[in-house]
Symmetry: D2
């Protein structure tokens, strides 16, 4: 059985496991005050070109989104996001649970457009009754998006500009950030992201770690951020677990190198499927591939390969998601192409 | 430098790291639906004598407390806890953040008494205006308590009885449960706990794991518990990380065996310190030892050994906490006794 | 200056003020346990044909919506509403503040269609990952809607059916209910509403009262509803203030009679404006009239009459809202028609 | 039957009802933007000696407490209050519902001492782990307290000083403020309160109004306070109802004059009961009197007079509360004294 259902089905990069074993009996202080966290933070700051950034490690993506958003919004504000954004659709109301509205904007292949943000805000502030409504307080984007698409640098510049104009932080969910950075044709670097957003996170769970996301505040974290992390239940006693993993991932460009593997395997897959005549639901330059399959074929493949269901295409076709990752081997890809 | 500041300063039991490495490239589904979680759950159910219990893994203790409490309380209810209980004092308001009051009861060496619960409830329901007040909805206890003390089986029976009487679940925070179970003289077994509580958790973070607590609902979890876990941000994509750890810990009694080490080293320490004339702030049968030190001596020890500050005893003395763990070596204890 | 900006610009029906004065020095118990509340509840139950309904008085509409919704939803559920619904757009996030998502459905002239509800629910439950999403837990409708439109009895029957099918309560916001009941051509009675919804409220603030909405649970209120009302700050000490007002409004059909005035004045206005060639943004059978005005004319009218701004129609026209009420005098209408 | 159960059993001062009737058909804008609110605010600012204060009207006390506290606290902060304070004990968890802990301090006849606040804060900040705890963010006091007691000016100065020292606003719940200001022997004026607190409210519900409390921020309200009021459901459409009442109450010293009546009747009652040998649970200089009655006598009085149950004194005695108000007639007091 070939398994391509998601990009979190394996464990961690072996270098992480090795380092965990090597340092296992070192005694270090808790709650993220250990030397591995310190080292990882320093390396991430360097990689981002932000010597004064604040970096915090949180164990999962939904938690990170909820913590970042709830810590930066004022009570009367909501977060703007694409209607297809993870915070809008797939987090069981985690944002609303903290008391904030997710203001859904039209999704353009998973992305938010600066023009839509500007229109929404202009309409809002032009309404004489806007004091009776939820204020726009932040823009959430995911890069890569849930559809595997990427913002261009120009698009990020525009989003940055409209956020500045309306005094809103721009937050980038980077659960798959490595795959975005390594995609062919992208003109967006980690330094660009640190320059153009107010907070973003570097995904570990989907890019080589057992767990953990590195939240980066290029201009400094909100006051008492650590207490808010604790209040939302996310301050791990053994902070070393996440610090050490990011320390390994940001040593010798490991994060970059393993991300590239996901791109290369995804690109080969797209090429192979295209050669066999498959159509794709959407051009996605990262590690998620969305072929349109005939339902009969899908049924035939079921015992042989596991994909993610994406959505119904028409009565006889289905869009499926095939995800590669840092751990995908090229031979699995070739087997899959042969199979399909 | 001898390091005894807490019981989460090392990594994980080596058997866990080994299993993580062995299974690293197996592809398993996410969000706790993997075979390691299934196996761990089965073993925990067996150990608890509850074949139909629901078991869920959550990464840390504060998060577990907030999720369990918020998922079991009705909106008009609060949770009763000792004033010194972790949820009352040390979680940055994580319970209140979910909208619920922590009703503080007198702490008896860190413990809640059934008599206090009954008195409080009787007074509450006798008040004709109790509809204007927060209803008692749950009793939270920690075993061992934050002071290292333990409930007797008789005390748990009484708490169980008063909770039944007032239709409240009894919740046991078992962040250090292994150390409680292995303490000398305790008459409380895991099966007793499963019989006498409505929900409890088996601490992993402080007892051999990198992270993770196993929440056990002996009579079944609340409806949609998994969605609530997600909503509070605690549903890890790589659920295998926690399932696998508990699978190892509950294989061949590993959890029990490593817990015993913490007790044996703590007992030797108490014996050694007593022999040298030290007084203790409190008799604690588990892995936390609370000697009363002269401030001058404390200062002299500072460069040699690291303890946890507990509280001021008087103008010239301080209560310190020395914590042993599954990883403490007896030779460290002997060095510490010599030093003091 | 003619004033038609809204339907809450006057005080209360004189019969209410008179009764307040007559009973002013009677000493009655607080928090809604007084005889006026009891009498008003009995009259409302009778008018609804629901002898066992629970009735509660709450001072304003946003508060009522937030309390009803938060008291009936489970934590993992959101409330479905038209995108133009008051709870979705105009309550400053009051619903999200209680931790719940408002699931926006397409608005059909301000109304929710049963087909949209069914589609949304069917898609939701068909998604294998729906446990990671906000469950649909309630349907909110307003009758009249924010656009002055009304549901037909057949539409309510369909909404009732789909709510039953998906085990969701149906909640009707009746801030302007009187005007809906008295509209010409409606086939919906108060008894129909009590039969087809699980909770609704009878608006007082906009229909003759100084303040107050009467929440009716035809099949009984949620357990501990009063404590939840208190918890959300809405339990008035002098409950008599609202009980007495509804007691007057439901004596000798006063509520019905004064509602009819708003309809008659609005109908005359529509007729008069139509005769002068005005177009309307939307056919609204209740007390809100939405003429499309030329911007130049609007400017000319500004010193003479006050309307509510509704929305821009095109570059040279604007949609305005003219609201009549129980207190509108026909001569004001004639003056307005002459003016326009 | 003599009725002394509480101080909100009558309606409103007749001057209020008269003004409501006189102005009933004036058309004014909604949501507190009407001329009556403006006039009332100006008069309150003048009475407080704070020309630049922000004044907002909210319909009830619990709601006011919840809104003020939730709008001024940061997320990581709790509010300090006497264990007997209304927000701690009698609001069904309204404060916790907004996500904040009530930090209970010892009650000294219902009052908070500056020394306790300072000790608590000093201990808190001295704890190296205070980032894991709820920060003290505000001090709540009630004046008169729930026990009818009053702060002296010196006590308020001390509370003000400790709040300044720890950068916390001081909030005074003045549900019965008029009775506090008119008590014999008090040295605290409204201007003192405006000078020494950061926010307080002037109770209307218990002092002559049908409903309504006037929240005063002497140094200005938090940004977007109105939107937060709306979000918590407390922005009444017919704001005139409260503005007009406070406009009347602050015209020609009406608030002061009617408050004095409650004091004079309570003082006569205390004198009369003392003369007959009654003991009091507590010396209370305001409108609440707490005699200790024999249970047998209490039973005999039941058909003749209605008091509030306060608490059990011993097996044969009970503490009762007798409340006078702006509306109490001296002849009722004489009848009561005769009866007892």
């Amino acid at each position: 059985m070939l398994y391509f259902e998601n990009d979190y089905c394996e464990g961690a990069h072996p270098a992480i496991l090795q380092k965990l074993a090597e340092t296992n009996f070192e005694k270090v202080p808790g709650y993220g005050t250990d030397p591995y966290c310190a080292s990882a933070k320093a390396k991430i700051c360097a990689a981002c070109g932000c010597p004064d950034a604040d970096v915090t490690f949180i164990s999962g993506g939904t938690q990170t989104n909820a913590i970042v958003i709830a810590s930066m919004l004022q009570r009367w504000q909501g977060v703007m996001a694409a209607a297809t954004g993870h915070v809008a659709a797939h987090e069981a109301g985690a944002i609303e649970y903290t008391g904030h509205k997710v203001i859904a904007l039209p999704a353009h292949e998973g992305k938010v457009s600066a023009a839509d943000v500007r229109d929404w805000c202009a309409t809002f502030y032009a309404d004489a009754n806007h004091d009776h409504m939820v204020f726009p307080g932040m823009v959430y984007i995911s890069h890569p998006s849930e559809y595997g698409t990427l913002y261009t640098k120009a698009e990020l510049e525009e989003l940055h500009a409209v956020c500045q104009e309306y005094h809103m932080p721009l937050f980038m969910d980077g659960a798959r950030l490595g795959y975005g950075l390594m995609a062919k044709g992208t003109d967006v670097t980690l330094q660009d992201i640190a320059r153009l957003t107010d907070v973003f996170y570097i995904g570990g769970t989907k890019v080589g770690a057992l767990c953990g996301e590195a939240v980066v505040f290029p201009h400094g974290a909100p006051a008492h951020f650590m207490t808010m992390v604790k209040q939302q239940g996310a301050l791990l006693a053994k902070g070393r677990l996440m610090g050490l993993q990011f320390d390994v991932l940001f040593t010798d460009d490991l994060y970059t190198r393993i991300s590239r593997n996901a791109i290369e395997t995804a690109d080969r897959l797209k090429e192979g499927l295209a050669a066999k005549g498959y159509r794709f639901y959407m051009e996605s330059p990262t590690n998620q591939v969305f072929p349109i399959l005939e339902n009969s074929q899908l049924k035939a493949l079921e015992p042989l390969a596991k994909f993610g269901f994406w959505e119904k295409y028409d009565d006889t076709h289905t869009v499926m998601r095939i995800a590669t990752s840092w751990a995908t081997r090229m031979e699995e890809i070739e087997q899959l192409i042969d199979l399909m």
